[in-house]
C-alpha cells in the first residue's frame, strides 16, 4: 500500500493517493508499511489504555490487585524452593526470583495476549485498512505497563534486602528494553500462527509454563548442572534474565556475551515474527 498524504490549503480536495497492488513474495513495501504503522501508533496506545482501564489499572485498588497477583505467585514459588531446599531461602534469592519473575511475566503475558489479539480483533480487521501489527504490539504495550508497578514493588524488596544500589542498576533499562523488543517479535509470530491454528493458545499455556521453569527464575543459572546447561543457552530469555540478575540484583556489570545474545534474540524475534506476520496479514480478513 503506498500512501502519499498531503492536503491542499483549502482542504477541499485531499491529494492523498492510495495505490493497492499485489505484493511480491508476500511482503508489502516496508517503508510505507512502517510509516503507516508509526502514523497510527496512537491506536496501539489507546487499545492498551482501554485494556488496562478494563483491568482497573487507573485506580489505587486496581493497581494493588495487579501487584498482589504476581507478588503472591513469587512468594509461593519462593516457599516451594525453600521446601525443596535448593534456593537457599535468603532474601537476596527472593529479590532475584521476584525480578526475574516479573520480567518473565511481561514477556509471557505479551505472547499469551498477543496470540489472541488478531483473532479477537475480527470486526475491526474486516472493516478498516490498517497495519495489523498494531494489534499484537498493543498487547506488548499492555504487558509492559503491567510490569511497571511490579518493578516498583521489586525496588522496595531490593532496598529491604539490603542489596547494593549501584549505577549498574541502570543496565536494567536496556535489558528490559531488549526483552520488550523480543516480546514484540514473539507476539507477532504467535498472533499470526493463531489465525491458522486456533488451538495454539491451548498449547501456549503449557509452553509458557515450561518456559518459566526452564528459565533461571526459580534458581540461579550457576546452579544448573553441567549436562543441562545447553538447554539453558537455547532459551532466549536466559541471557537477558541472567544479565538482569547480575546487574540489578548484585551490582555487577553484565557480561558482554549476555548482552550481545539478548540483542541477537530480540532482533531475530522481531525480524522473524514481523516478516511472518506482515507477509500473511492480508489473509486475516478472509480467514477470520
Amino acid at each position: 500500500m503506498n500512501t502519499v498524504a498531503e492536503r491542499s490549503e483549502t482542504g477541499t480536495f485531499a491529494t492523498e493517493v492510495h495505490v493497492y497492488e499485489p505484493h511480491k513474495v508476500g511482503l508489502p513495501p516496508l517503508g510505507t508499511y512502517l510509516r503507516q504503522l508509526w502514523r497510527r501508533r496512537g491506536f496501539a496506545f489507546e487499545l492498551a489504555r482501554s485494556d488496562l482501564r478494563g483491568k482497573h489499572y487507573n485506580t489505587a485498588f486496581g493497581q494493588l490487585w495487579l501487584i498482589l497477583n504476581p507478588l503472591f505467585l513469587g512468594l509461593v514459588y519462593f516457599g516451594l524452593v525453600e521446601i525443596i531446599g535448593r534456593g537457599g531461602g535468603s532474601i537476596e534469592f527472593l529479590a532475584h526470583l521476584l525480578l526475574a519473575l516479573f520480567a518473565f511475566r511481561m514477556v509471557s503475558g505479551s505472547v499469551g495476549q498477543g496470540a489472541r489479539s488478531v483473532v479477537g480483533g475480527g470486526k475491526l480487521i474486516l472493516n478498516t485498512a490498517f497495519p495489523r501489527t498494531l494489534l499484537p504490539l498493543s498487547s506488548v504495550l499492555t504487558c509492559f505497563f503491567l510490569f511497571l508497578p511490579t518493578a516498583a514493588v521489586y525496588a522496595v524488596v531490593h532496598v529491604v534486602a539490603g542489596l547494593p544500589v549501584t549505577p549498574q542498576i541502570l543496565w536494567g533499562i536496556p535489558i528490559i528494553a531488549m526483552m520488550v523488543v523480543f516480546a514484540a517479535g514473539a507476539a507477532m509470530l504467535v498472533a499470526a500462527v493463531q489465525v491458522y491454528f486456533r488451538d495454539l493458545t491451548n498449547f501456549l499455556r503449557y509452553m509458557l509454563r515450561i518456559w518459566l521453569y526452564a528459565s533461571p527464575i526459580l534458581y540461579y543459572a550457576s546452579q544448573v548442572p553441567e549436562k543441562y546447561q545447553p538447554f539453558l543457552y537455547a532459551n532466549p530469555l536466559y541471557p537477558p534474565l541472567t544479565a538482569l540478575s547480575e546487574s540489578v540484583n548484585f551490582g555487577h556489570t553484565p557480561s558482554a556475551g549476555l548482552l550481545v545474545a539478548s540483542l541477537g534474540w530480540a532482533v531475530g524475534a522481531v525480524i522473524v515474527g514481523g516478516v511472518f506476520f506482515i507477509s500473511r496479514e492480508r489473509e486475516f480478513a478472509v480467514r477470520l
Binding site: 500500500m1 480536495f13 493497492y20 497492488e21 489507546e46 470486526k123 475491526l124 478498516t128 485498512a129 489473509e283
Partner: protein, 244 residues
Amino acid sequence: MTYRTTIEKKPTFKKTLMRLGRHERVVRTIEAIRDISFDVPHGTVLGIIGVNGAGKSTLMRSVAGILPPTSGRIEVHGRVSTLLALGVGFKGDMTGRENVVLGGLAAGLSREQLDEKYEEIAEFAELGEFMDLPMRTYSSGMYGRLAFSVAVNLEPDILLIDEALSVGDARFKEKSFDKMHELCASAGTILFVSHGLRALRKLADEVIWLHKGEIAMRGEPREVSEAYKQFLDLREDDVADEDV
C-alpha cells in the same frame, strides 16, 4: 481478486493431523473478482448491484484497501471512509466512545481531528448516554446508527457503503438520506452497494451490475435496474424496490 480460505470454521492442529492422513484438502480457492476495470470520477455516486455472492463486498473491501488484489492495480485518490456491513464496534465490552476513538485512530486520524469530530459523531448518532455504555448493550439499530454516523462524519472524500443504508428508525433514515445528499452535493464520491433498487434510482448517478466477479452492465440507474430485474425475473412490486 482471488483468495484462499478454509472451509473449516476453526482450524486446529488436531484437525490438520487428521487430514494429513486422509489426504483431504479443505482450502478452497475462490475467484471473487475476475476481470474488472473501471474508473470513477470524483463526485460520482456509483451504485453497485448484483446477486449475493457476485463479489460486491469483496470489491468494496479491495477499494478500501482491506483486501489487496492478487493481480491488477487499484488507485484511490482521496480519503476513504467505510461503512461495511459489520459496523464500527469491535469490542463489545468497550463503550461506544472508546470504539469510535479506536476506530478513528485505526483509520489514521490524529487525536486532534478525532476530538473535533467526536462531538459531531455523537450528536448525529443521537445515542445520548449510551455512548458511554458498553456496545454489547446496544440494539442492532443503535449499532448501525453509530456506524453510519462515524462513516459520514469523518469528512471523507470517498464513502463506501455496503448494504448499510437502511439502518435506524424512520427519522434516522431521513437524516441519513439528507446527509448522503449533502455528501453527493459537496463533490464527494460515494460507492454503495444496495439491494434496494429505489434507493439506487434516487441517489445514484451511475450503476454497475456485478455478476460472478465481472461487470455485467454499467450505465444509468433506471436502465441497469430494469435489466437486472428482468434478469432475476422479479415481480413488478415493491419488495425488490425497498431496502426492507
